[in-house]
């Protein structure tokens, strides 16, 4: 084994520098994407936006599950917390209309607080036991949201909260269509760019965290908690930090969800959603940021693609629809998970051993 190995793990950054043309093409493609999609219908822009939200969620859950190795089946609760924080602070429900840039950090903080609240009692649990407690936590949050409509009406119960403010920056209202440079920017298109910017920030934070003292401590806890403690890592703090960080991303995604939809109710935050986010992380590749993004995109686009193809295909071949798209979706999900776990237990794009490049005897930084 040679000592000089090309840096692979520290994340694409060095690789990007070597391929300016490729990077430029990817950036251009991402910028042009909403206009291409709009040609197929605004619905596809909305679908893409939701997919990006799920990428954000998966990256948050990846911190807890992928980095720190703590199985969390109630992650959607933090999404719910972020969504409700936004809804309560920017809707006629309480008559409060704060700007989105003020609410999103609050949503992240409140979600982080809930992360610690969930983490604290589960510190000594792991594996199956942790999964059961987190599953219960997710349900508790949803049921609370459902029942906090009376006697004091906080969440408006199962009716949900309506007429939530869209994102506005100055005079730029994300619910309206504007035109710049002779191009029409519809609401979903504007949200697409905002979400894309957030995604870049979140990916950056994730990469930085993973290749840091904190990220290594998370991975140490995942690999062997007793050894981690013997290395002087305060496992209590480091696990709570993972819960809080992961939850805060969920909180931000939830706030964006509220703003985009304009309406939320407890029904959006059911257990299946938690399971779905976890499936994205596991299918893509726990612990590998790029794998998780791949998993989230695949599982987000599968249902709408099926919805648009299953019925016409069946009608073409059989003259009528035999199997509902929803049924086929679940069939494909289950089948895909079984196949991936059977043949690629680390996920489609599994985490690799991070190799660092260093030369001579000095060591030296790699970034």
């Amino acid at each position: 084994m040679k000592a000089n190995v090309q840096s692979k793990g520290n994340a694409l950054l060095p690789a990007w520098r070597n391929r300016p043309l490729g990077v430029a093409l990817v950036v251009l493609a991402l910028l042009a994407l909403p206009f291409v999609l709009a040609g197929a219908g605004t619905a596809w822009v909305r679908i893409t936006n939701l997919a990006i939200l799920f990428v954000l969620l998966s990256l948050g859950l990846n911190i807890v599950v992928g980095f720190a190795g703590l199985l969390d089946l109630g992650y959607i609760a933090f999404y719910a917390v972020g969504a409700y924080v936004y809804a309560l602070l920017a809707s006629p429900h309480f008559g409060i209309h704060w700007p989105f840039w003020a609410i999103l950090p609050i949503g992240a903080l409140v979600a982080a607080l809930f992360g610690v609240l969930l983490g604290a009692p589960t510190l000594k649990l792991r594996g199956d036991y942790l999964a059961i407690v987190t599953l219960g936590f997710g349900e508790i949050v949803r049921i609370f949201l459902n029942n906090l409509g009376s006697p004091v009406n906080i969440t408006n119960g199962p009716r949900g909260i309506n007429r939530i403010d869209p994102v506005t920056i100055g005079d730029l209202n994300f619910a309206r269509t504007d035109s710049f440079f002779g191009l029409a920017f519809s609401g979903p298109v504007k949200y697409y760019y905002l979400l894309l910017a957030m995604l870049v920030v979140v990916i950056f934070i994730n990469l930085r965290l993973q290749n840091s003292r904190i990220g290594r401590a998370w991975e140490a806890v995942r690999e062997d908690e007793i050894a981690a403690r013997a290395m002087g890592i305060d496992t209590t703090r480091i696990k709570l930090l993972a819960f809080a960080m992961g939850a805060s991303f969920g909180g931000v995604a939830g706030g964006m969800f509220s703003a985009m939809q304009g309406f939320i109710s407890p029904e959006s935050f059911v257990l299946v959603e938690s399971v779905m986010v976890l499936a994205m992380v596991v299918l893509g590749g726990m612990g590998n940021i790029w794998g998780v993004i791949l998993g989230a995109l695949l599982l987000s686009f599968l249902p709408p693609i099926l919805r648009f193809t299953v019925q016409p295909l069946q009608e073409y071949f059989f003259g009528r629809m035999l199997v509902e798209p929803e049924v086929i979706r679940m069939l494909i999900f289950g089948f895909a998970l079984v196949l991936v776990m059977g043949f690629r237990p680390g996920g489609l794009w599994p985490a690799a051993v991070r190799k660092r490049s260093f030369s001579g005897s000095g060591g030296g930084a790699h970034d």
Partner: protein, 256 residues
């Protein structure tokens, strides 16, 4: 010689089993101190009590003037006691280099904000972590394996990596739980040389070991446990001829 660690009447019971009763001993600075005894004598329990994995029921453990009994493991590491494990506990999916870098955790500071913004203090700290980890890998002879997954290393290399990782915490006392277990003769020989090198760096060593030749050859003093009790302490030669030790290992001579 100054006392580095001193234990007074340390006891630990699990249910009805007295794993340690009234153990007292002290380790001097700069020596290699051996801990031996038949299987089930309480050696690993004593290790776990010293390193904070178990809390002793009674007794005091004083390390460089401060009381350790009841401290959490991470605080004990901070005070300067590092350990390895009998059944190797590396971070198998991380590279050898990262394993050692994790050992630097306790001596470094960067938090979440430092990680995200990677300011100059954090960059310097990261460079220092990597440089020290590399030099420790060099020290145990694993420099060429830096980028390999720890779990894929040869058995003897894994044991050496555990030592490098423990040394990264800058211990004053390094506690090794059966470092030669499963090693062949030549690996044991080079381990012995390594232990000498570690000591030469000013690190005091506490050693649990079954390999009698290694123990007798390398240790300055020995503590012998049997059924949770201290039955002898002293220089290897004296221990070898101690009738209680012989009895513990070979059984009592048949009644005449």
């Amino acid at each position: 010689m100054t006392e580095l660690l001193s234990c007074r009447s340390v006891s630990k019971a699990f249910g009805g089993i007295q794993a340690l009763s009234d153990i007292g001993f002290s380790i001097h600075e700069g020596e290699i101190y051996g801990l031996i005894g038949p299987n089930g004598a309480g050696k690993t329990t004593l290790f776990n009590v010293l390193t904070g994995i178990y809390t002793p029921d009674r007794g005091s453990i004083v390390f460089e003037g401060t009381q350790l009994a009841g401290l959490k493991p991470n605080l004990i590491v901070r005070r300067g006691i590092a350990r390895t494990f009998q059944n190797i506990r590396l971070f198998p999916n991380l590279s050898a280099l990262e394993n050692v870098m994790i050992g630097r955790h306790v001596r470094t500071k960067a938090g979440v904000l430092g990680a995200i913004f990677r300011n100059s203090a954090t960059r310097d700290e990261e460079a220092d972590i990597e440089a020290r980890a590399l030099s420790l890998l060099e020290f145990v002879g694993l420099r060429e394996r830096a980028n390999q997954a720890a779990g894929n290393l040869a058995y003897g290399d894994q044991r050496r990596l555990e030592i490098a990782r423990a040394m990264a915490t800058e211990p004053r006392l390094l506690a090794l739980d059966e470092p030669a277990a499963g090693m062949n003769a030549s690996e044991t020989q080079s381990l012995r040389a390594l232990l000498g090198d570690v000591r030469a760096r000013g690190i005091t060593l506490l050693l649990i070991e079954h390999d009698v030749r290694l123990v007798m050859g390398v240790c300055d003093r020995l503590l012998v446990l049997d059924h949770g009790e201290k039955i002898a302490e002293g220089a290897p030669v004296a221990i070898q001829n101690d009738p209680r030790v012989i009895e513990a290992y070979l059984g009592a001579p048949a009644a005449a």
